[in-house]
């Protein structure tokens, strides 16, 4: 068990980071901290994917010297997934940030519970 963890330390770190990010996104009150949590969570997934795609001693799949042997290169698909994931996460983060700005302009607070209280008071 312990040996297994030590061998796959990259994945372990990724999972721990995912947990940290997830809890932050769920439990933080402050919107900015929530968004940071979201980014940690997404990054953890990329770390995980990159770790899975990497094969020790192999290089990035850019063909030089007509070397088509699969033993030379790492698996390119996870890298592609990471790139796609980054695009998605960037756009989601941008959306969240813009929403936060809207919220802040209106209520001058980053605390979502505070906003709810305010809304109740307004009776909207």
């Amino acid at each position: 068990m312990g040996e297994n963890l030590a061998q796959n330390y990259g994945e372990v770190v990724a999972m721990v980071l995912f947990g940290i990010g997830f809890t932050n996104l769920l439990l933080q009150k402050n919107m900015i901290k929530k968004i940071i949590g979201l980014n940690i969570m997404d990054t953890a997934v990329y770390l995980f994917l990159a770790e899975k795609g990497y094969i020790t001693g192999h290089i990035a799949p850019i063909i030089v010297n007509n070397d088509f042997s699969p033993d030379t290169y790492i698996n390119p698909v996870p890298s592609g997934l990471v790139l796609t994931g980054i695009v998605v996460s960037v756009s989601v983060t941008a959306l969240m940030l813009s929403l936060t700005i809207r919220l802040y302009r209106r209520y001058h607070t980053l605390d979502l519970d505070e906003v709810s209280k305010r809304l109740k008071k307004e009776g909207l």
């Binding site: 997830f22 769920l26 969570m41 997404d42 698909v77 997934l81 809207r102 809304l119």
Partner: protein, 497 residues
């Protein structure tokens, strides 16, 4: 007729490109383009549906140059095509029903953005329905979320912004779990295409390795999608989001967005995990319990509510509970019942939202019940449509809701051990539904002396009237000629694999 096989791909691309083109148009033309695209997608899906239904075959369509198992694929049978058709129809009706409100509630310079979001929503829904690649599914899940968020916050209102933020947070939690789930799945199986993952999983299971990680993965994916589709207790964002956004948004969010995720989950269950394995994993029991809890709690919340839109929203929580309860029964009949309920709920709930907007309009824009007194006389068409929707929700025979309840009950009776809880909760939930929906119907048909608000004649807004009639017909059709539909669904789920 080979050309029909291109239609699913074309419809996705059509919706997506129209979103891009719309950004260069003004609001009016964006509206026309959107109407055209939704109609076109409907027609294309109808052809695809007809073709797949008559040939009784599923087709795989390779996207790009790489063949399986590396490339990206679309795969469609009659169930997928039928769903796409249904989504397009509901979307068109919801938009038409709320067209006037869109003009009133959305700032003119933002109207174009609204239609961009709708095009994106359509393309992502179609992609969720058709795709055979789990990572593509993830990407479109996120696009769907962003588009839905846009639909919520397009009306400038404190509540909608708050609701949008809450919706985003919940959704992101869900998609985070979903993402890590599919990464783990990829890690274990080495594939991204659903069919190949399935065969790998079968091999893994036969070898007896990775049992627990596989279970965890299935759990992550299912829970992720359940959160996104607002299964109780992950529904906190729902009443604000549905209650304060513009009416078309509310109708589409409740009948399409959450259903898109659920349909993806159904595909994953059948095509990736395998129904048998899903059943044996025990996750069905979790879904079952949460589904039952949702059925009761959603209705209880709805009874307490004094705002008609929020009441209908809470009723969605209950209806989503029904669908997950059907999953939880763990039989294919239960699954058929759930899919039928997706259709029936989509048709009914958007009808309710659209007709409720007509009722609030003739009550000075108020959504509280005391102001709605007599609204059924002031807007006769909306009143009648709301009554039909309420009857369907309560489960009066001849309306669609009755058939789904009948199917759920039939499915429940065939299980061992889940029969009694299901039937009891079904009965309680139906009585609760009856309380709040019929209370509302009575309220809107209680005449008031010297009415404060003016009546409108239904002939004034033809588009609205026609939409309501279409919705009612759809509802009655689902209720009265359900046999071919259930036959189609039960054939369709077997063809998913």
């Amino acid at each position: 007729m080979e050309i029909i096989l291109n239609f699913p791909c074309i419809s996705i691309l059509l919706a997506m490109f129209s979103a891009i083109i719309s950004s260069a148009l003004n609001g009016k033309w964006a509206k026309y383009l959107n109407t055209f695209v939704v109609t076109a997608v409907g027609v294309l899906s109808a052809f695809t549906f007809w073709y797949t239904y008559t040939t009784k075959n599923s087709y795989t369509y390779v996207m790009g140059h790489y063949p399986a198992p590396y490339g990206n694929e679309i795969r469609f049978g009659s169930l997928e095509a039928g769903m796409a058709l249904f989504f397009a129809v509901i979307m068109l009706l919801s938009l038409n029903g709320g067209r006037k409100k869109i003009r009133l509630e959305i700032a003119p310079e933002k109207e174009k953005l609204y239609y961009i979001m709708i095009n994106l929503l359509l393309s992502s829904l179609l992609a969720l329905v058709y795709t055979n690649d789990i990572f593509t599914a993830y990407v479109f899940v996120e696009i769907n979320t962003i588009a839905a968020c846009g639909l919520i916050m397009i009306t400038e209102h404190g509540r909608t912004i708050e609701a949008a933020v809450r919706y985003m947070i919940m959704s992101l939690l869900g998609s985070g779990l979903f993402l890590i789930g599919i990464c783990l799945l990829y890690d274990m199986t080495g594939h991204l295409l659903m069919v190949y993952i399935h065969s790998s999983i079968t091999k893994i299971m036969a070898a007896g390795t990775y049992q627990i990680p596989l279970l965890v993965t299935i759990g992550l994916i299912v829970v992720g999608l359940a959160i996104k589709s607002a299964l109780f207790p992950f529904h906190a964002w729902l009443p604000d989001a549905y209650g304060y956004s513009t009416v078309s948004s509310a109708a589409m969010l409740s009948s399409l967005v959450s259903k898109g995720y659920i349909f993806l989950l159904i595909k994953l269950i059948y095509r990736v995990i395998g129904f048998r394995r899903f059943y044996e994993s025990g996750i069905v029991n979790v879904l079952f319990v949460f589904g039952l809890a949702g059925m009761i709690m959603g209705s209880l919340y709805a009874i307490r509510e004094n705002d008609i839109r929020r009441m209908i929203s809470y009723s969605s929580v209950a209806q989503i509970g029904y669908i997950y309860m059907g999953f939880g029964l763990g039989t294919s009949i239960g699954m058929v019942a759930s899919i039928f309920h997706i259709l029936s709920h989509a048709a009914t709930k958007s009808l309710l939202f659209v007709s409720a907007s007509g009722l609030t309009d003739v009550s000075g824009g108020h959504k509280e019940f005391q102001e709605l007194t007599g609204a059924g006389y002031r807007n006769k068409a909306a009143g009648a449509a709301f009554t039909v929707g309420a009857f369907s929700m309560v489960g009066i025979p001849c309306f669609s809701g009755f058939i789904s309840k009948l199917l759920f009950a039939q499915a429940a009776i065939q299980t061992s051990g889940k029969t009694l809880p299901t039937l009891i909760v079904l009965a309680i939930s139906t009585v609760l539904n009856a309380i709040y929906f019929l209370k509302t119907v009575i309220r809107i048909y209680t005449p008031v002396k010297d009415d404060k608000y003016e009546a409108v004649s239904s002939g004034k807004n033809m588009l609205y009237l026609v939409t309501l009639v279409c919705f009612i017909v759809l509802n009655l059709a689902l209720g009265m000629i359900s046999q071919p539909i259930t036959d189609w669904i039960s054939y369709g789920v077997t063809a998913l694999i």
